[in-house]
């Protein structure tokens, strides 16, 4: 709105000025008007997502009479009107027109402002299409990054498939599953598994259900009882199918009891009240909290601690991790939780994928360290070669 207002003000001002000068002495208007541009060109930006033109122009006349530039665009269709792209200072000779349509060509018109605000004759470009390219050059570092990550993953998957040992550091929380289930078996008490309080669209719930598959299989092998109260009906269905499959693979399908996997309520604290009460009454020997948790994390884990259960938690919610770490025997922290399925299954594809992602993370961490070092050195020695190196490094990363 301000640009448009300014334009009207300049046009009105220009008319008043012209009329005044004519009344005073019949001086020619063209003598004080700004010179129009002599050459205007619009170029489609290569290797981009489209919608961008670089407009440049030249003035052969006296540039001192020019106080600014008005840049306008118009789609090459019937009835289209000129739309202001921007207003620029007198020294400008180039502008980037963005947010243009990919479908039609555009004409760009460049008009000069004179000292009193009067406008010169505008000069238009030929119709130019700002078309979208197949490959966006600015995203090249990202493409290279994806290639590197994918190569790492594929190499490690192939390596794992070929039988080369892939070492994954021990995750105590997952190694302790046998211990927890064994404890429940020796004590003749049930195992409690909570897959968070979110629905199946939450990635943490999916990871939790994956761990449930392993815990249920171990429970089936030990012939222990596993209870899975859920706060979402879809989670209940997923949990039932997972546990059933685990019992089947352990060869104890007859021991599977779907009634032990039940839906309680969607209400956060209604669910917590039920689970806490159940824990106090039944005193499960092992409690698993694997999924997305919020305020209920401490209530559940403290209740479990008070009844002497072995507790294993896993969540990606960083705000809940301290509570789980303090109250539980073992805690899967963030990435460990998502790595659980490959760690537990030991399948070459999953292991290779995990290892490949780790390699990519290592490369990313190395890039961060190099960036931090260069930025620090550049700030300490602004006159040295480091600022240039930092700029180059930023360019390489595409930032």
């Amino acid at each position: 709105m301000s640009a448009r207002g300014s334009l009207w003000q300049r046009i009105v001002g220009g008319l008043i000025g012209t009329l005044s000068l004519a009344a005073l002495g019949g001086v020619s208007v063209s003598a004080s008007a700004a010179p129009p541009p002599d050459f205007v060109e619009a170029i489609d930006v290569p290797w981009d997502a489209g919608g961008v033109l670089i407009v440049s122009w030249r003035v052969d006349g006296d540039p001192s009479a020019i106080t600014g530039w008005l840049i306008e665009r118009r789609e090459e269709i019937d009835g289209a009107k000129w739309v202001t792209v921007s207003e620029l200072p007198a020294a400008a000779r180039e502008v980037t027109a963005t947010k243009l349509s990919h479908d039609h060509a555009h004409r760009i018109r460049v008009t000069a402002f004179g000292e009193s605000g009067q406008l010169s004759k505008g000069l238009e470009t030929a119709p130019t299409l700002a078309h979208a390219n197949f490959f966006i050059g600015a995203k090249l570092p990202l493409f290279v990054g994806i290639l590197v990550v994918s190569t790492c993953v594929i190499v490690f998957i192939l390596s794992a498939r070929a039988g080369r040992p892939i070492k994954i550091r021990r995750i105590a929380a997952l190694d302790a599953v046998d211990n927890a289930v064994g404890r429940a078996t020796e004590m003749g008490r049930p195992i409690l598994f909570i897959a968070g309080i979110q629905d199946m669209d939450n990635i943490s719930t999916v990871a939790g259900i994956t761990v449930l598959g392993h815990v249920a299989k171990t429970a089936a092998e030990y012939d222990a009882t596993i209870e899975v109260p859920t706060s979402r009906s879809l989670v209940m269905e997923a949990a039932r199918e997972t546990v059933q499959a685990s019992y089947l693979s352990a060869g104890r399908s007859d021991s599977y009891n779907p009634d032990l996997i039940r839906y309680i309520t969607d209400e956060q604290f209604g669910f917590v009240a039920y689970v806490s009460g159940r824990m106090v009454r039944e005193k499960p020997a092992a409690c698993f909290y694997m999924g997305c948790f919020f305020a209920e994390s401490l209530i559940l884990s403290e209740t479990g601690n008070s009844i002497g259960a072995i507790q294993i938690a896993g969540t990606a919610e960083s705000t809940q991790l301290p509570f789980f770490v303090a109250a539980c025997d073992y805690t899967l922290i963030g990435e460990e939780f998502f790595a659980a399925s490959s760690y537990l299954s030991r399948e070459p594809d999953q292991m290779g994928s995990l290892k490949g992602q780790d390699a990519a993370k290592l490369i990313t961490a190395a890039a961060i360290v190099i960036g931090v070092v260069l930025a620090t050195l550049a700030s300490l020695a602004p006159d040295g070669a480091f600022p240039a190196a930092l700029t180059w490094f930023k360019g390489v990363l595409g930032s």
Binding site: G188, A326, I333
Partner: protein
Amino acid sequence: MRIVATDCGSTTTKAILIEERDGVFRQTFRGEAPTTVEEPFADVTLGVTNSVTELQELSGYRLIADDGTIIRRRSQSDADGCDLYISTSSAGGGLQMMVAGVVREMTAESAKRAALGAGAIVMDTIASNDRRKPHEQIQRIRELRPDMVLVSGGTDGGDTKKVIELAELIAPARPRPRFGGEYKLPLIFAGNKEARGAITRCFGGEGFALSIVENLRPTLEQENLGPARERIHDVFLEHVMAHAPGYDRLMSWANAPIMPTPGAVGDILQTIARGRGINVVGVDIGGATTDMFSVFGGVFNRTVSANLGMSYSISNVCAEAGMDSVLRWVHLDMDERELRNRVKNKMIRPTTIPQSLEALVFEQAVSREALRLAFIQHKAFATTLKGVQQQRTVGDAFSQDAVGKSLVDPMAIDLMVASGGVLSHAPRMEQTALMMIDAFEPEGFTQIAKDSIFMMPHLGVLASVNARAAMEVFERDCLILLGWCVAPKGEVRAGRPALEFTLSGGPSGGNAEVAKGQLVGGEMRLVRFPLGHSGKLEVRPEKGLDVGAGPGKPVKRTIEGGTVGVIIDARGRPLKLPTSPSVRRSAVAGWQKALEIYL
């Protein structure tokens, strides 16, 4: 005071005489005779009488009466006879047991620990999660012929269902006892007290002699092995020994209950560890099996590696370790085909001994691997309790230790005791010391000793009757102190400085400098420091290497001399031998030369 002690082994019965002279107990004479448990004699006391007769001949005291019994002194002034007679036995394969528990890593493991600690050989462990189907478990139980069965399972007030399921597997399987079928198989129940009624109903009928003791895991946080071990000893005497030929007479002669030999060895090591407040690792490598004992922080553990030995099991050692692993300790060129023939010959002729240097080098290389594998098995078994609740703080976020951590810490070993033919009868003491170092890879300061004449079983029983006598004989006559091993923990760089040391002392201690030097990575050095000497050894490791006080920190300790001296081992831990065969051979030859192993 005069004490006669015998150990009835599978092949020989060994007798020793212990006398109190000048207020100190010393072992004075030793006799040996073939064991006579098997036909045609079928009476263990004949072998005992023969071995004690040898003692009688050597000592000049009359110890055997005309009727073949051991003469007892009525007073200290009596010239003939002894004041105490004690015995251990491993004749006829020792005590063989089958154990069962609900979860393999929990109550079944505790049951195994109780059985092994009592000196038994565990033939098999049955558990509800041992990945065998019930019919396979029943088949296995029927195949075994144990002397005794130990059943555990469930905490007190805990699971009863699976305990009863276990009982219902064992009872109908009717395992037959080893010594004939006329006596009832002893079965000890040490599980959930609430399951006792059902267990009594299950095993109360014919075929089993049921005895019930306290639960060996009353809670998962607590292990109570004492009652089960004591009951195993009692049952061993009442049932097993009573049915072995001649043992009823032998028991009537003895002043203390006859113990299984490994149980007695375990007892004396525990007594020593407790008395001196140290951590001890003991090994007895035999022809068929290798027994490992350890006491760490007062917790005793014993394992029997049933297929690791130097004659009957030598083939299995080579198969399990791999010939490459065996030959990495050899500095000579050897033909692998010929070695395989040698291994098989040793297996079928177990009493043969090496006749050439090459044969000796090879046998000692095999022993290193047997000991190494036995130690790995021991480390895996000697762990903290599993299924225990952990207490955490937020600070533990990134250091969540798993349960079931091994108790065996090479840095914490204070004393290693070697026994068994290949170690005890090695031509040079240096060979025994190096075999122990290579196999167990001790870290920091570790004293090495060997059992002079395998006297530990006798002293184990003696400790239960006269602890002072047992300790004095153990320290003066039983153990031959070989010396010390000082080895930094951490990776060393070949040829780069690893540590500096200064040894001072002498026959009466003092500060006289004995030796001083610097070792580079991969080097070993022997400093002679004779028996009876004592002094201070200061070791200053390089950055990143630890000799007990932390990486790079010096340690100064008081040490005693030994028949070998002080071995400073700068090969780093874990021990990594060069991969190139020629480099490895020259390195092994270098170590052997430095330690004067094969002159």
